[in-house]
Structure formats: C-alpha cells, structure tokens
C-alpha cells in the first residue's frame, strides 16, 4: 500500500529529522491533502462544531424561559445529568429509565432477529434454483421503502378492527380468538419491532449472501466426504468464515437501532406511550415539544457515550476475528 516515492533516494541514509519527514510527507501527499480539505472543512462545520456545542448545551439550564439567551443560558454543571439519571422526583427520570429499557429491548430483539433470520434466508438463497437471481433482487425491495412509508403502511396493517394483520390472524386463519390491539399498550413494542426487522432484513441478507458466495465450495465438499452433516458444515465452516461480516452487521445494527426515530414517531406520534417510547422519541419530544433543550442535550450526550462504550466492547470482543479477514 506504500506510495511510490517520486524523490530520488538519498545516497547516504541519515535518520531524517522530524521536520524533514513532515516536509517529505507534505510533498508526496500534497494532492491527497488537497482532496480531503473540502470534506474536512465541511465536516468540521456541520458535524464537529455542532457536536461540541451540543455537549456544551447539556450543562446549561436551557428551557422555554432561558431560550432567548441561547448559549448564555445559566450554567448548571452536571445538574441536568443528575436530574435525568438519579432524581426520583423528576418526572424526566422515570421517562428516561423507561425509554432506556424500551430501547435496549428494541435493539436486542431487532438486531438479534435480523441477524439470525437474515443468515437463515441468505443460506436458503445461496443455492441454485429457478429464478434465483430474480428472487435475490426482489428480496431487497423492503430496504428501499422509505421508513416513513414503512411506518404508515404498518400502522394501517396493525389497525385492530379492520387491519389486514388481524383479519388474517383472526378472521381467516383463526390463530387467535380475539383481535388484539397492536398500536396501544404492551403490544405496541412489537408494532415497531416487526416492521423494523422487515426493513432491516434485506440489507443483512445482501451482505451475508455476498459473504457466502465467497466461500470456496471445496471446503464443503471436503467436509461432506468426512461425513459432516448440513448443520455441522454450517456451524464449523460457514459461521467461522462469516464472523467478520456478522461482527460488522452487529456493530452498525446496534447503532442504527438505538438511533431509530422515524418508525415510532410516524406510526405513533411524538408520544408513542410508555410501552414503545424509545430514547430518540423521548429526546425529540422533551427538547422540541416541551422546550427542555438542556435535558435533551444531556440525554443525547449520554447516548453518545453509551455508543462509544458499545464500540469499545465490540472492539474488544471481535478484535481477533476481524484481523485475518481485513
């Protein structure tokens, strides 16, 4: 990967000073620096500076009364964090704890199911059968449906008395005796989990399928000759080879699920209720509907910290399995 040096080699090798090395780096990579400069400036302006400002706002008492003071709102130190995390009397504390529980449940179920079902379908489609290319292509379609459409479509399908899902479950298949209410109460978590899995599956299948196609057939043939059945071949050949792909899907799946916003927000409004309220809907509601900007910024900072923690845990657990593949 090292770049071909355009400068002639020095006749006598002298350890170059830091200055020389910097100048050399600059001369050889001038074009690369020119290429990244616009992107760097842009990302500093729209990503990094606002993120820093957001962290700062978490330490301010910024609400309806102090909003006009913007960044000069009263500094309250860690008060917002204390209120959200530990103050039993603060109504936001209960809402936050509940949203954390919901978000953890939502993320674990969505990501877990997406990876497991996605792997099963990818294995199923990694065979030769009539129309296999068409099937693989059509399978991606749900990923292209915008998530706000996913939300209105499934909301319509979940409607209790006339929705198609209850019609199928109760009127046609008689799986259940009574039509359950999906969009309110304890079921409402499933009302957002299932569409999320449906929309996330195609991408996971796509990635796993690409990985499976790269596995040499000889491995399976050799294992078959040795008498390994289908499950053992999957367990001892496929799974270890797919580990890096599973790891990457897990990493980003968790991040995207924790930051899920559109599906609950469009399906159930700015307050999805105690059973389906996720952290993102909570933050947006508290910050932009109730004008509790300081709290919103504090919770966002906590979320970012939690995600950094997740990346660290992920890296420690998967470091080994990533190295040989990349």
């Amino acid at each position: 990967m090292s770049h071909v040096a355009t400068t002639p080699e020095l006749p006598v090798r002298i350890a170059p000073t830091r200055r020389v090395r910097l100048a050399d780096n600059w001369r050889r990579n001038r074009f690369a620096y020119a290429l990244i400069t616009p992107t760097v400036l842009f990302m500093v302006a729209v990503h990094l500076v606002p993120t820093g400002a957001g962290l700062y706002l978490g330490f301010l008492r910024l609400n309806t009364f102090t909003f006009s003071e913007l960044f000069h709102a009263p500094w309250v130190g860690l008060q917002n964090y204390r209120d959200v995390l530990f103050d039993e009397l603060n109504p936001l504390h209960a809402g936050f704890t509940n949203a954390v529980k919901n978000t953890v449940f939502y993320t674990v179920v969505t990501v877990g199911a997406t990876l497991a079902i996605g792997m099963a379908i990818a294995v199923l489609l990694n065979r030769q059968f009539p129309f296999v290319r068409t099937v693989r292509t059509l399978m991606i379609a749900p990923w292209v449906v915008p998530s706000f459409v996913v939300a209105i479509l499934w909301q319509f399908m979940w409607v209790s008395d006339s929705g198609i899902i209850n019609k199928i479950l109760v009127d046609w298949a008689h799986v259940l005796d009574e039509k359950p209410v999906w969009l309110l109460g304890p079921n409402s978590m499933w009302a957002i989990v299932i569409p999320s899995i449906w929309r996330a599956l195609p991408f996971t299948i796509l990635i796993f399928l690409a990985g499976l196609q790269a596995v040499p057939d000889e491995l399976y043939e050799a294992a078959s000759i040795d008498g390994a059945n289908a499950w053992r071949r999957f367990r001892h050949i496929t799974l270890p080879l797919m580990k890096p792909l599973i790891a990457i899907q897990l990493l980003f799946g968790v991040i995207y699920s924790v930051y899920q916003f559109a599906i609950p927000y469009v399906m159930m409004g700015s307050n999805p209720g105690p059973h389906a309220d996720l952290l993102m809907t909570l933050v947006v509601r508290q910050a932009f509907t109730n004008n509790l900007f300081g709290y919103g910024a504090a919770i966002s900072s906590l979320l970012m910290l939690a995600m950094l923690g997740w990346v660290a845990v992920w890296y420690i657990s998967f470091r080994r399995s990533l190295e040989p593949a990349t």
């Binding site: 990579n29 990244i36 706000f148 459409v149 319509f156 449906w198 933050v283 970012m304 995600m307």
Partner: protein
Amino acid sequence: MTKRRSIEWSLNALAYLVVALMLAPIAWLVLSSLQTSSQLSTGTYDFSQPTLDSFRTMWSAVDFQRYFLNSVIICTAAALLATTFAASAGYALARYRFRGSGAFGLTVIGTQLIPGTMFLLPIFLGFIWFGRNTPFRLFDTHLGLILVYTAFFTPVSIYLMRAYFQGVPRELEEAALVDGCTRFGAFWRIILPNAAPGLLATFVYAFLFAWDELLFVSSLTQENAETIPVGIRTFISNYQQRYDQLMAAGVLSTLPVMIAFFATQRWLVRGLTAGAVKG
C-alpha cells in the same frame, strides 16, 4: 436420490414463500391505494375494480406536489454534493497513506456514532443566528437542508467510493503519470470515468437516505422547504382516517426511490457488498 430431490424442492418452495412474505406488505400498500376509503375502513375489499380516486383526492387535499418537488431538489443537490466530496476524499483514502489518513478515516466513520439530536439543536440555533446576522437564509430553505444532508451522507459515501477506487487498477494512473498527466489530470480524466458506476451507486445511495430523512427536516423547516416525510406527518394529523389517500401518498413517495434503485441496483449492490465484505 429421490429424498434428496424432495428436500431440494421444498427448500426452493420455502425460498419462494420467503420472498412472497417479504414483498407482501409492499403489495398491500399498492393494492390498498387502489381501493376506496370506505372499503378500507370496513375491510370489504374489491380488488377486481381498482380505482385511482385516492390519488386524485390526495393530490388536491394536500400540497403533495410541493413536498415532492422540495424532496427532489434537496435530495438531488445533497446527493450530488456528497458524491463529489466522497469521490475526492475516497480517492485520497484509497491511494495515499498520508499523515493523518488513519485519523481522518476513523473520524469519518466515528461521525456515525453521534446521535442526530446531539447536533440538531446547535444547527437549529446556528441557522437562526445566520438568518439574523448574515444575508444567507438557512432556516426553512433548500440551501440549509442541502448543507445538512450533504454533511450527513458524506461519511458513508466516502467509504463506498474508497472501496470502488480500490478496485480500479493502480496501473491506470501510473500509465497516465508516465504519459505526462498531472496527478489531478490522472484523477479527473482517467480514474473518475473508470469509477463512473461507483459514482452513480454512491449518488443513488445518498439520495435514498436523504429521501428518508425526517428528524432534521421536521425541525429545520416551517412552511417553505418541507419534504415528503413532513407532508405525510401533517397529513396524518389532519386526515387520520383517510387510509386510501395515505397509502396513495406512500406509493408516490416510494416510486421514485424504487425506480432509482432498480435502475442502478447492479452497481449499487456490488458497491455495498464490496465495501462490507472487504471491511
């Protein structure tokens, strides 16, 4: 051998069943947009007599045309800009090992860890500040959203383009340099044309994601630059029970991205899987 045959056949049947199940909700979206409101609310569907009434009434009931146009303008511009940034930065990352390239690559992917709400409020305040202190209006304008979306979808686009450039043979630009091309000339005239499918795929990818964005557009617009997701939210709060029109709006908002995706899926799928499989 016959046992093996029957297993093969049942696996094939299972594959068809799975794809049918995956597509069923989309089929239902289209089918119900062709029904009348009363058919949908009572559940007495009649698929033999589809009607386009819902599209007509929806088009006149909400200002869908305006939302649609806003979406097209904002998403096209943002995706173009993101692809431009991604092409240059992705090329630098693919071909050069410069001081800070590791840190730059890490920061780019690290932006994905920041929750949208973290920078939404500062951007909102910044936009208002800009409107008061400079002649540039960013709040509730196309320009403001284009800038924000470009920044959002640039990071992943950079990784897509980097994967593409890594697949373009190095000999191409080495030959161009020997022939007296400048580095920029080699990039512009040799590499970029060779990466055209990658550019297209990256553009479509950024477009798909911008089309889907709801959080920022709902807070940074008021009455001028709202896109389709905001329009649909407004529609729900005003006409809760008109499912026929809502499904019609859903069909119309899905159609452009479906077409864009399936027209370019050969290249897009290759780009996405190459990036992911190589890591």
